[in-house]
Symmetry: C2
Subunit: 153 residues, 2 copies
DNA sequence: TATGAAATAATATAGTT
DNA sequence: AACTATATTATTTCATA
């Protein structure tokens, strides 16, 4: 699938505000409302736009502490991997999890209320998943930048 | 600021689809449209909801490669920090950057088109920022989980 | 102080050219 | 793709608990 300049401008406008009226998006894309409405629908149908989400302020929701937890499994058998990934899926405080290259197997991003809460998530949940050998925590001191995943040149 | 059960249900509904009609959000929260509309406005005004963004598919936009880059500065003087953070702000392929605890100073999340592009971002951009001593890249092999930042228990 | 119902205003979408 | 008409949807008003 190929995006043209109109599509890019539409997406750029929606990234500023996904609830921006179509007429206003149209203005930015130098187009009228009708084709913008149709293009947005097309982008949704083709899966370029998967959906829309509110951008929430973690602090205002009582989530003051953020960490990246690097995890090693001790035996890379399918059963361990499946159990690990299920535990990750079930925990709402795990907001991202990637299988990665390097010394560690997984990089897990966690949002917690405070140190005690993070400790509970790490020690009582992550470290107790069968097959998990080792965890290393990297605490976030300050968030310098955070945009929605996916840049648009 | 204190969120009640209604607010939580409203946020949960919007997290599924931030463009869901108010009437439908109201149904989920067991409320009518009027208070839901007002509560959403209140959550926006108070900064709990910062805005709305489309959820995009990186692959459909030609971004096939993702990495976390750990960075060390060689002298933690204000000038270096300022220059580093400005370079980060300017680069659209850096989608997140945190100052962190541990061996490294910063954790930077990068989205690139391919290995060559990642290499260019890392070697020609990040490593050339004055004050940057060392970078270690962790390549994402597979994304097991990715939700919008901020869980809501 | 917050809600629900109804009226109004804003906005999105479908039909037509 | 644009213009116009129609249909959705959001928001304001007002009465009420």
């Amino acid at each position: 699938m190929q995006l043209d300049e109109f599509d890019r401008k539409i997406i750029a406008a929606l990234r500023e505000d996904a609830r921006m009226p179509v007429a206003q998006v149209a203005e930015r894309a130098a187009l009228s409302a009708t084709p913008v409405s149709r293009r947005i629908k097309r982008l949704e149908d083709e899966g370029v736009i998967r959906g829309y989400a509110p951008v929430l302020d973690p602090r205002k929701l009582g989530l003051e502490l953020e960490a990246y937890v690097l995890i090693n499994l001790n035996a890379h058998i399918d059963e361990n991997i499946a159990r690990f990934e299920q535990a990750i899926a079930e925990n709402p405080h795990v907001i991202a999890c990637h299988a990665v290259t390097g010394d560690m197997d997984y990089l897990v991003r966690v949002m917690a209320r405070n140190v005690e809460h993070l400790s509970q998530i790490t020690l009582r949940t992550l470290l107790r998943i069968p097959g998990v050998r080792d965890v290393k925590s990297i605490i976030v001191l300050e968030t310098v930048k955070e945009t929605q995943p996916v840049p648009l040149d």
